[in-house]
Subunit: 339 residues, 4 copies
C-alpha cells in the first residue's frame, strides 16, 4: 500500500498519521522524493482504505499487490515523464533517441559525433568516461577530465549527457557535468550505489543485469525510487543465454512486460542487445514496435577505429538511416487506424 | 563446395564426374531434390573452381565455407520461395500469415476459425492433431481422423494446412491431407524424422529446438535438404532461458541472423515466443520489422475455452487488429524512402 | 492416486472396480507392466482410501501428489532394481559401472575394450551403433551390423550391452542384441519413441534432455512406465548453460533431487557431463558421493584415435584408476559411522 | 609475461629495467603486492626470456598465455596458501571449513554458533552484517555494530571472521574486525570495489557472479591481485540456469577447471549452490571429492528461525554429520593407493 502525504504537513502531524497506520499492523517506510512524500506500507491485514484516506494529511492511497511498490504501474497508471528541459522529455509518447560512442576518446571524436547529433535532431548523447572492463589491463576510460571536455562540447549545442557511474565516490564529481546517470548491467544489483543515486536530484537510467530477471530489475528500481529519486528509467540491453551467435540475446519480451508492470520509461539498447553492427538497426526498430519509449545506441564516425565496441557501433550513415526507419514506424503507429 | 549436376546426365556420366572430384581429395555426398541434383563436397584442399566447372554435366559450382552447405545463403543469395499454389507463396517478400488453434478440437471450432481466416484473407491454417505433451495423462490430439475433418473443411475454402508430424509412421497417413509438415521444437534434432521428411515432396516447417542454437537449427535443416527436400522453412519460436516471467524468450536476434545465414524463409511464432496473449501482437510486429518472412500464431473463437495454449491464443478481434498493424508496418517498410 | 490391481483378476471384475473408482470422480488410466497391473487415477475429489482398498482385486492404494505418478518415490519408497541376470543388478545400493566407446568402430576396438572390462570386473558395456550427429555429413554409426558384431563379442564374456535407439523402427531389429535401450538427450521428449519403449520387455536408460528440466525428465519417464515398462533408469548427463568452458554443465544438484523424487535408479554420465577428459574422473566421483546409483563413461584403448568424443574418453589406465577411487569412496560411504 | 623484480631494487633501477622491456614492444603494468614486485607485460612479439632474465633486478620470468596473468597456474604451479595465523591455513591440501549463519542476528545466536564451531574444531566463521537483498524493504543486516559484537565473541575463542563487504566505504570501518573480506556474487564485477580490496592487507574471498563465466571470475581475481593483494581465494556458489527446481545450479565442473587454471584456493558454497537444506551435505561432499580446497556453509541453531536463508541452513547435528563425512572422504583421498 502506498499512502501519499501532503508535503506541507508538519513533522509531528506526519508521525501521528504514520503511527495510526502502524497501529493497523503495517510496517511503514517513509519516502521523500523530489516530487512528493510517501509512506510505503507492508502488511497482511485487511484495511478499509477510506479510513486511511481520512487520516490527517493523506492525499491518496493505493493498494499495490506487487512486492515492489513505487515503481509499479498498479499505483501510477500513466507513464512517468522525465523532463530534461528545453522540451526534451523522455516518456511522453514519442521515441527518445540517445546516441553516442561507447567511450569518450578525445575532442575530435566528441565534436564529430555532436555534429551528427545536431544534424539529426538528437538531443541526448551517451559516452562512457568510466568503463567497466572485464580485464584490468584494458582501457578504463578518460575519467573525470574526459567528462568535463565531453560536457563543454555538448553544452555549446544544448546536447544532454548520459554517462555511466560506477562508484558512489564518482557521483559528486560527476554531478555538474551529467544530465542522466547510467547504472551499468554489472551494477544493476549494487544496492549501495542505487541507494545513493536515490538521493541525487538527477535522472537515472538503470540497466538490466547481465542475467537479471525482470523482477530483480524492478526491485533495483524500487531501491532508487524509495531512496528519493523519481526521475528513473529502465533499460533492456540483452541477457546472457546459451546462444553465443551474438554478444547478448536481446529480450524483446521484456519490453511489453516492463511497460505493463511499471510506469517508468523503458529504453532499449540494441547495440549491446545484439552486439553485431549490421543487426543493430532492426533490433532497434523491433524494440520501438514492441513499445519501447526510446533507444540508446552506439554511433561513431569510424566505428572500426573506436577504442571499444567497434563491432556494434553504427557509422553516421547507418545512424541516419535508422532514424528514418524509426520515423516511418512511429508514424505508422500514430495513425488513427492503428489500434 | 556445392556442385550442381545436370539432371539429364546419365548415371555413368555422373559417376565419372564425381570420381574426378573425389580425386581432388573431396568426399562427396550426392543429393537429389525435387529441383536439382547436387554434389556436396567436403575437403580441405584448394581447388581451381574452373576445373570443376569444366567437368561433364556440371551446371555450377559454389564454395561454401559454412559447415552446413545447401541451406547456406553463401550458395543461394535469393530467399527461397515455397509455392503452395493459387498464388500462395512463402518467401516472396510479402508477410505470410499462418493462423489457427493450438489443437484441432471439433468441426465447429475448425469451421469458425476457417471463417475468420477467409474473412481476413489468411490462406494457411495451423492446427495440431498429434500433440507433444509433457505428461502422458493429457490430451494428445484428435489424430488422423481429426486431420481428415480439418482437411475437408479447409479444402472447401482453399485454405492450406500446416500441422505437426511427430513420427515417421505418421507421414504416409498424413500426406494426403497436409500442405506443410511441421517439425516441433522437441523434434528439432530427431534426425531420423528429418531424414525421412527430406524424401517427401511436401514443404516442411522446421522449428528451432527448445534450447537449440542457430547453428544446430541450420544443421537440422541441412539434414532435410540433403535428403532431397528443398521446400523448407525455419521457425523461431522462443528459447529457454533463466527468465520465467514468460513461457519462452522470443529470440528476436535470431531473425536477422537467420536471414543472413540462410536462403530459407524464416517464420516467427510469437504465440510460443512469449506465451502471454496480450503480448503476442507486439512480438509478432517486432519479428516482422526485424525481417521475418511470415508469422504463425494461435487464434481461437474463445481462447479461454481452448483445450490447450489458451493463455497465448488470440481471439478473432485481436487477430484482426494484429493484421491491420502488420499491414501498417509492412507498408512503411515497402516505402521507397525506407532503406 | 495409484491403485494396484491383482493381475489374476478377470477382466470384467477389473472393469467393475475401475467403474467404481470413476464414479468417485476420477479419470483412470490402466497400466499393465511386466510386473503388475495399475490404475493411475487423476481427480481432485477427496476420497476415503479405505473404500478403494476394499474394492475387489485391489492390492494397494497410494495417494501421489506429484503430477507424475508411477515414477514417484511417494508411491514406491525403495529404489527400483533392474536385474540383468547373473547377479548384475542396477539400483541395489552398489555402484553400477557402464563403460565403453562413444561409437562401435570395429572388432579390434570392441575386443580390446571388452578385455579391459573383463579385467576390471565391469559387466555392462556402452557403444553406439546409431549415432545422433548435428551434421548430416558426419559418421552416423555402424548400424545394425555393428550391433551384431558388438553382441557376438560381448556375449562370449557375459558382458551386457547398452546402446542408443533413435527410432521406433530400430527397436525390433535391435531387440535381440541389446540388454538396455538407451534414449539419448535429443530424444528425451520424443514421446512416440518413449511410448513404444514402454511396450518393450527390456530395460531402458532415459537421458535428460539437453536443457530438460527435472520435471520434464520425470514426465518422460512416466511415459515409458505408464506404457508398461517398469525396467527404467534415468541419466544425468549435463545441461546446456551460458558457460562454454565445458561441453555441458554437469548438474550435480540433479542427483540428490532425482533420488528424492523418484524410485528409479539414477546413473551419471560424467563424460558428456563435462566433456573434458582429465575432469571426467572427479565428476564421476562427485556424482557417486552425491548419491548416483552408477556411472556410464566413455573408454577407449586410444582415445585420441576414437572416431568421436575423443576429448572426453578415458584410456584404460585412467579408467582403472577411476574404479579404484570409486571403490575408495563407496567403501567410505558404507562404513557404519557414515550417517 | 610476468617478470618478478627484486623488491630491494631502487626505483630508478626498476624503471631502467622496465624501459628495456618496453623497448621489446611490451606494455608493462607494475604490481606491488604484500609479497613481491611484478611487471605484468602484454605484447605479441617473441622474446628471448634469457635476455629479460639477465636484466638488472629480475628474479624470474614466466610466459603466461592466458589473458589473466597473476592468478594463472601457468605462472605459479603450487596452490597459494592463505595463512590466518595459529596454523589456520587455507590451500595447504587440507579441507578448510567455514561455517556460520547467513546473517548475524544477536549475541545469543553468535554465541551458540561459536560454541558449535569450537566443539567441532572449525576455525573460521561466516556471518553477514551487510546483506545484499533484492528488495529494499527487507532486513539488510546489523551493520558495523553487529560486526563488532561478532568480532568480540569470536576473538574470545580464536575464531576467524569472514564477512561480506558491499561498498568501498565499509572497508576501513570493517578492517579491524575482519579476517577475510568476502565479495558477494552481485559484486563479482564491481571493479572499483575489487581495485580497492587489492590495496588492503587482508585476505579476500571472491564469489563467482550469479551468471559469471569462469573466465570473468579469473579476470575479476586479476583485478584484486594486480592491485596488490595476493591473499586471494575463489568461491563457486552455483550459477543461474533454466532449471528452477533449486535456488542455483551448483557448477561442479567449475571446481576441477578452476583448480587447473589458477593457483588460488577454491572454496565451495553448497548452501547457495543448491539452496535446499537436505541436499547441502552431498553437494558439499561432491565439491570436496572434485578437488575443492574448502567449504563455506550456513549453520544455525534453529534454521527455521533464522532471519534469512533458513531453507538452506544446516542445524548443528547436520553440520556435525557433514564434517564426519568430509573426514571420511578426505581420508580416502589421502590414502597412498588413491592416485
Amino acid at each position: 500500500m502506498i499512502v501519499q502525504i501532503d508535503k506541507q504537513l508538519s513533522t509531528p502531524e506526519i508521525q501521528k498519521t504514520i503511527h495510526k497506520i502502524k497501529n493497523l499492523g503495517y510496517s511503514v517506510t517513509e519516502v521523500t522524493t523530489q516530487k512528493a512524500h510517501y509512506c510505503v506500507c507492508h502488511g497482511k491485514g485487511e484495511v478499509d482504505i477510506r479510513f486511511i484516506g481520512s487520516l490527517s494529511g493523506v492525499k491518496d492511497v493505493h493498494v499495490v499487490s506487487d512486492s515492489y511498490k513505487l515503481v509499479s504501474r498498479k499505483w501510477k497508471v500513466a507513464t512517468s515523464q522525465i523532463d530534461l528541459g528545453d522540451n526534451i522529455v523522455i516518456g511522453n509518447g514519442n521515441c527518445s533517441i540517445v546516441a553516442g560512442p561507447c567511450a569518450i576518446e578525445n575532442e575530435e571524436q566528441v565534436a564529430s559525433i555532436v555534429n551528427h547529433l545536431v544534424e539529426n535532431n538528437i538531443k541526448i548523447m551517451r559516452g562512457g568516461v568510466f568503463k567497466p572492463r572485464s580485464s584490468p589491463y584494458t582501457f578504463r576510460g578518460m575519467g573525470i577530465e574526459g567528462l568535463k571536455m565531453f560536457y563543454r562540447i555538448c553544452q555549446q549545442h544544448g546536447i544532454r549527457i548520459i554517462t555511466e557511474v560506477m562508484e558512489i565516490d564518482q557521483i559528486e564529481k560527476m554531478y555538474e557535468y551529467v544530465d542522466i546517470f547510467q547504472v551499468g548491467a554489472r551494477n544493476s544489483q549494487n544496492f549501495n550505489l542505487l541507494n545513493v543515486l536515490g538521493k541525487v536530484d538527477k535522472p537515472v537510467l538503470l540497466k538490466r543485469g547481465i542475467s537479471g530477471t525482470i523482477d530483480e530489475l524492478l526491485h533495483s528500481a524500487e531501491y532508487i525510487f524509495s531512496s528519493g529519486n523519481e526521475k528513473l528509467m529502465l533499460c533492456e540491453r540483452g541477457i546472457r543465454t546459451f546462444e553465443n551467435a551474438y554478444r547478448n540475446t536481446f529480450d524483446i519480451n521484456a519490453i511489453p512486460l516492463l511497460k505493463e508492470k511499471t510506469h517508468l520509461p523503458v529504453i532499449a539498447d540494441p547495440s549491446h542487445g545484439v552486439g553485431i553492427r549490421e543487426f543493430v538497426p532492426v533490433i532497434a526498430l523491433a524494440a520501438i514496435v514492441a513499445g519501447a519509449d526510446g533507444l540508446i545506441y552506439e554511433v561513431h564516425e569510424n566505428p572500426e577505429e573506436a577504442v571499444s565496441d567497434s563491432n556494434q557501433t553504427l557509422n553516421f550513415a547507418e545512424s541516419k538511416s535508422l532514424l528514418k526507419k524509426v520515423a516511418a514506424h512511429t508514424s505508422a503507429m500514430q495513425n488513427s487506424t492503428y489500434s
